[in-house]
Symmetry: C2
Subunit: 207 residues, 2 copies
């Protein structure tokens, strides 16, 4: 069995990972923890494979057995963090009278969380942007999470989604990603990203 495990997506984007032995699950966790720690400290550049291996108390070869590249590693870490964030938001009622207000609430809350950890966000965004098709699965997961967060904000309690809903969520996701890139790369300030997001949402959801 590969230590990457098999990712099974159940119903509404909740993922369960079947990961071999407890020792393997533990190694995987240690690796991701080390990744997040290093990324939080010093961003993308600080996540050096040798450093991750050392901090996770794992050989370099083992690290590569679990995650075939630095990009996979970071995107997997991103996915884990994202799931955790989404779990916190799920089941909580969202404030706001209009769908635009609720969506903006969700976006700002998430963005603020990310901007509280600039280095971590930089590392994860960079990885996301650099990923190629071989990380498709992990990225798809993140995309689904975001879409479900946004559509829930648009129509709380509803499970029926129109094509337009999904399309709007996707556009918002695109703007969000671009803003994040702009912020991470120092081309935009935090408040500018907030304004840009709010602007986009109000353009898209004016009903």
């Amino acid at each position: 069995m590969t230590p990457w495990g098999v990712t099974v997506t159940i119903a509404n984007s909740l993922t369960v990972e079947d990961l071999g032995s407890a020792a393997q699950r533990d190694r995987r966790k240690r690796i991701l923890d080390a990744t997040i720690a290093l990324a939080t400290q010093g961003g993308f550049d600080a996540v050096q494979m040798r450093a991750v291996a050392e901090q996770a108390d794992v050989a370099l070869g083992t690290l590569y057995r679990y995650f075939p590249s630095k990009i996979h590693l970071l995107v997997s870490a991103l996915a884990r963090e994202f799931e955790r964030a989404e779990l916190q938001l799920r089941d909580k009622p969202l404030p706001g009278d209009t769908s635009a207000d609720r969506v903006i609430f969700v976006l700002k809350k998430t963005t603020r969380g990310l901007q509280g950890d600039p280095h971590l966000t930089e590392a994860l965004t960079r990885a996301f942007m650099f990923a190629d098709a071989s990380v498709q699965a992990e990225i798809h997961n993140v995309g689904m999470l975001l879409t479900s967060m946004l559509t829930r904000a648009m129509h709380p309690g509803s499970t029926e989604l129109t094509d337009d809903d999904v399309a709007i969520a996707r556009v918002i996701g695109d703007v969000w990603l671009s803003s994040l890139v702009g912020w991470v790369t120092g081309r935009m300030t935090a408040s500018e990203t907030g304004e840009q997001l709010e602007r986009a949402v109000r353009l898209l959801l004016r009903d």
Copy 2:
């Protein structure tokens, strides 16, 4: 004088570069040509600094004197190509009765151009995504070009732009970038990017 030259932006995003001696201008051109050639052949990975230097008949140190990193090099190449494309489109009448139709025309035309050179596009998009604040100037140029292309398509012949116009152009730019990333990284097909763009434009421009 640094060989990077001084970039002066005149009026409507037309840029003129003052680049020292003819020999320096020539070297710079040779370097960018070599970059484009290698990128066209084999994409981001094929643009190796030693290879660029050799093909441009320039020492490695000289290459780094002109472009302080591979990312700067690729983003500069992107900017040059983009300017050329915009120049072709400028002054030509745009078909379509509604602003949405015209914007979609511009986007599809540009996107088709890019997708005709997959490797080149991959290289340039990757660079764009990986750029940090030190490439702000070059990236800002590209952004301005795109905005001016889009707003012209929205209101041909008009020079008055509302805040909404600019905001819409920016959102479209974001979607375009995300689609491009999706396509470059193999997560979306060419036709999917087309659909996503059209979808987004029609959501934003429904007047």
